[in-house]
């Protein structure tokens, strides 16, 4: 592990935090977009390591979390059918719909299978020609090339018993929805590293310019997040608002052209509902008309299913950075990872699940920096000193 030291060294972290303290003149609210970043921040106590006036709020970048309840209910309606093999990424299985989850359906005799890659569904479809194989194609831009390839291969190879239930969402329209809200608090973004590995970051430049917000594409290791936070803070303090790339060792401005080409060949942009947030115009992908035979929503007649979300859940405000998980009366009591009420508790990458996993529901009276594991970076916590 010879490469680790340089990036996890407490001295480097301390220098970055010291520079934040040196330049910061007023309070700022930054949002990390990606659920992996949220997980890393909470696990490592980064939000308590940085100066007190720099607040990190947690964004909507957890694909499992933002898949709308309505779409989960559609998935379940299809998975319950006797002639269907329903395939999904593992973390969708325990996401509750209006009535139970995919595990429940499996236990009642439904043929529900976990796949590692969407391409596994091709093998399953070929091996089971008398069954309809349906894949739950969820995700952000990172996952879109994989799901596009499945649709493309099914189409090209004329695999007639394979279709996709598509619930794809896009990061840039979500950032715009957050910035447009009257109660928005976010003044700068840590952009999602692996989404930009696919898409590049040019599409963020108009957003940064229009709303005058810095956007710094950032990795998810503790030092990456500290560095991205510092870069964002520097822009804010210098009254600049541009897109910068903290994660240049992994990605460039243009992303992966081959992946984008197939994604655009298979999908077109459409309005999408986001769990907890609601409808965001032009914020997701659907299959193009040419791929209608691969479109499970058309084949299985589930378009009429409409579902409301539980009223007590405040995940919509959490996903937009208005509130934190411990602001919710249900957090850790009525709502737990075992019995999630809403978006941000359903996946390990959701903000509520991350707070729960690292014990932030257990000691509400204790200063948070004592609960967080800031020590893992070898740096004293930033709060209260």
């Amino acid at each position: 592990m010879k490469y680790l030291d340089e990036y996890r060294d407490g001295d480097v972290a301390q220098k970055i935090v010291g520079e934040m303290r040196r330049i910061q003149t007023r309070p700022w609210v930054l949002m990390e977009v990606c659920g992996g970043q949220t997980h890393s921040i909470v696990k490592n106590g980064i939000d308590h390591l940085i100066p007190e006036g720099v607040e990190l709020v947690h964004g909507p970048g957890c694909p499992v979390c933002v898949t709308p309840l309505e779409m989960i209910d559609k998935a379940h309606a299809i998975a319950r059918r006797p002639n269907v093999i329903f395939c999904s990424f593992g973390d969708m299985l325990r996401v509750p719909g209006s009535e139970g989850d995919l595990f429940t359906i499996k236990s009642l005799g439904g043929d529900v299978r976990v796949v590692y890659s969407p391409l596994d569904c091709l093998k399953i479809a070929r091996a089971n020609p008398s069954k309809q194989v349906v894949f739950f194609a969820i995700g952000f831009e990172t996952t879109a090339p994989a799901n596009a390839m499945l649709a493309w291969q099914a189409h090209e190879q004329q695999v007639t018993n394979l279709s996709l239930l598509v619930s794809h969402v896009l990061v840039p329209p979500a950032l715009e929805a957050i910035l447009q809200a009257d109660d928005n608090r976010v003044q700068g973004f840590l952009g999602p590293g692996h989404v930009c590995a696919v898409m590049g970051y040019r599409e963020y430049e108009p957003i940064s310019a229009r709303y005058q917000v810095p956007i710094v594409v950032t990795g998810f290791e503790p030092i990456d997040i500290l560095h991205g936070t510092l870069m964002t803070l520097q822009q804010l303090e210098e009254d600049r608002a541009v897109v910068e790339n903290q994660y240049s060792r992994v990605l460039g401005p243009d992303g992966n052209g081959a992946a984008q080409k197939l994604v655009n060949r298979v999908f077109e942009v459409t309005d999408r509902k986001w769990r907890g947030i609601g409808m965001i115009p032009m914020s997701g992908f659907q299959l193009r008309d040419e791929f209608a035979r691969q479109d499970a929503e058309k084949l299985f007649d589930v378009a009429e299913i409409a579902t409301l979300e539980p009223e007590i859940c405040i995940s919509g405000q959490i996903l937009r950075g208005i509130k934190k998980p411990h602001d919710c009366p249900a957090f850790g009591t009525l709502c737990t990872p075992q019995r999630p009420l809403g978006a941000t508790m359903v996946s390990a990458e959701g903000a509520c699940a991350a707070y729960y996993a690292y014990g932030r529901h257990l000691q509400p009276g204790k200063p948070l920096h004592q609960i967080a594991s800031a020590e893992t970076l070898g740096v004293p916590a930033g709060r209260g000193d």
């Binding site: 680790l4 696990k43 590692y116 093998k123 089971n128 090339p145 994989a146 692996h194 990458e349």
Partner: protein
């Protein structure tokens, strides 16, 4: 599942017209589609998301990212069942 996992390409082959590879992640080897990084050679490192390589990275970055993901318990997708290629009716998982 929003993150990609780095691994080393240990074999490349064609399947159904797609460029594929076997990619080693720590002690686990899984198939990955290399269509989006077609220039990748055996011995190189790639970031893999749900069975698709989305970008090429160097060894140092691969090692660092792998360690970070392990710390975050974000490697569980690698343990998903392997779907075998079998003839119709003979599927097993």
């Amino acid at each position: 599942m929003c993150l990609a996992i780095p691994g080393k390409v240990v074999e490349t082959f064609d399947k159904g017209g797609m460029r594929m590879g076997k990619v080693q992640f720590g002690g686990i080897v899984r198939e990955a589609c290399l269509e989006y990084v077609p220039e990748t050679q055996v011995g190189e490192y790639v970031l893999v998301h749900v069975g698709f390589a989305i970008s090429r990275i160097d060894e140092a970055e691969a090692e660092r990212t792998y360690q970070a993901l392990r710390d975050l318990d974000q490697l569980t997708e690698l343990e998903s069942p392997v779907v075998e290629e079998v003839e119709p009716g003979g599927f097993r998982q």
